[in-house]
Amino acid sequence: MELFIQQLVSGISIGAIYSLLAVGYALVYSVYNFTNWAFDGFMAFGAFMAFTGITSLFMPFWLAALLSIVLTVILSVGTEKLAYNPLRVRKAPRLFMMISAMGVNLATVNIINLIYGGTFRKFPVDNLQPIFIKGVSIGRMDLMAGGISFGVLALLWIFLYRTKWGLGIRASSIDILTASLMGINNNAVAMIVFAITGVLSSVAGVFYGIKYAVFPMMGVVTIKAMIASIVGGLGSLPAAIVGSMILGILETLVSGYISSTYRDLFSFLFLIIILLFFPNGLMGKSSDEKL
């Protein structure tokens, strides 16, 4: 029973990190209809910036995290301006955007590799003692990762559903041309969307780095976020979160009760089974409800 609860808590915290990434994918996909592969590199970039902040600039953790968020937002919005916006203005097919995103991703990961080298590094935070509640040990890091991730997601939800900017983004996700005819500035929407993905990838990168390690290829984990958002239903934010939680919990239970070697096997098997029975994902209503 203790093992089950421990794995559940750990699963929720991993699920929360996947949620951040899955929501980032879903947000870009719902507005621009392409998979932002560059996300992967941004996540590693975010983790390395926080890492550098602590090790080289001797910043406290929160300041380094803030630095990482700011720089990743700049990178994400800059990518939008330099790589995606020119394609969008020329009305290029969305496949081109995806290829462009892959290029950005390769460049980011390899530049990080050149500068820092490919070794695994431990994220420099103090070894936090787990909390014991009735014999169940719960990692402080898990609590923090879960709590902050859900906090970020809650803020995003308020932004999308309770503010006029959110209304504009939701309208753009349905019909970007009509939205602009109603006075919504497409470029502003793009900036906001990519700034949000910058925040999400940075936070996810930092927590993933703390939980496992910091290395240039760490962004490969975003494939899990892809699985999660497909399991939930591509392009929908609530579905992305549901898919991520299911996947996170499934993975930690498999690691705990079977073997962590088979973790990824089960993840992909799970994806195949879900798609066999729910081709649009668990909550996918094809392209109806996006945000």
Partner: protein, 261 residues
């Protein structure tokens, strides 16, 4: 000259080898209600698309309130005071009727993101004002009781009305109506004529309306002009009676009578 709210001069646009709009000039005084008619493919909707810069003209000028709006982005043109409805309804189907209208007020209130999150009195006041204004518009088009219905769940006629309310929400000075009566029966047309006339007089909009229902056009434009387009060129301009008796217009619509000797 400067009195004109909209001044289109020698507007031409080519789609590949097809000249969709050929040397068209239209000038509107503030508050006018003009009709734009013509057979299918005459270039009527293309002219509206040119005004909102969804399409770039090959040559010509479009001036709105004395300044050129060529090359301005659609959202900028909307903010300057031009709004439109669509021939095939283009609401945001997954959003509620209220949200569709609320969106139109998007560019207007000024408050910062932080204010929106903390919900300062200032931001809240703007939200309440917006809500009030949006509900007023929904009331004008008789959709108040449907404010929380999804736009896609509304019947066709109500969706048309909702689109009109949404267009009004951007507080336009020039309203472009693209076939507002399309697919409506006679009763619905009569209601619509009343609604449009009421909007025109109470809101003091300048309106360009494309319409195929001749009763609707002749009724609404009885005090002003109708522009007739055929194959991209202006065929005739005049009052409803003049247009109805214009031999060129009759020929464009009905074809030429075979001459017997």
């Amino acid at each position: 000259m400067s009195e004109e709210i909209l001044n289109i001069k020698n507007l031409t646009v080519d789609f590949g080898g097809v000249r969709a709009v050929n040397n068209v000039s239209i000038a509107l005084q503030p508050g006018e209600f003009v009709g734009l008619i013509g057979p299918n493919g005459a270039g009527k909707t293309t002219i509206l698309n040119l005004i909102t810069n969804a399409i770039k003209p090959t040559s010509g000028e479009i001036n709105f309130k004395g300044q050129s709006i060529l090359g301005k982005s659609p959202d900028r043109i909307c903010q300057l005071g031009i709004s439109r409805t669509f021939q095939n309804i283009r609401l945001f189907p997954q959003m509620t009727a209220y949200e569709n209208v609320e969106l139109g007020f998007h560019s207007e209130p000024h408050y910062s993101l932080a204010e929106a999150f903390i919900r300062t009195p200032h931001a809240r006041k703007i939200e309440i004002d917006t809500r009030k204004k949006a509900m007023e518009l929904l009331e004008i088009v008789n959709l108040k009781e449907h404010s929380h219905a999804r736009a896609s769940s509304l019947p066709y006629g109500l969706q048309r009305r909702l689109e009109m309310a949404r267009a009004m929400a951007t507080s336009p000075e020039l309203l472009l109506l693209d076939e507002p009566a399309a697919g409506m029966n006679d009763d619905e047309c009569n209601d619509l004529v009343q609604l449009i006339r009421q909007i025109h007089t109470s809101m003091k909009y300048t309106i360009i309306m494309i319409e195929h229902h001749m009763n609707v056009v002749m009724d609404l434009c009885r005090d002003s002009r109708i522009y007739v387009l055929n194959l991209g060129s202006l065929l005739a301009v005049g009052s409803p009676t003049e247009i109805q008796n214009n031999p060129d217009v009759i020929r464009a619509y009905l074809g030429e009578r075979k001459q017997h000797d």
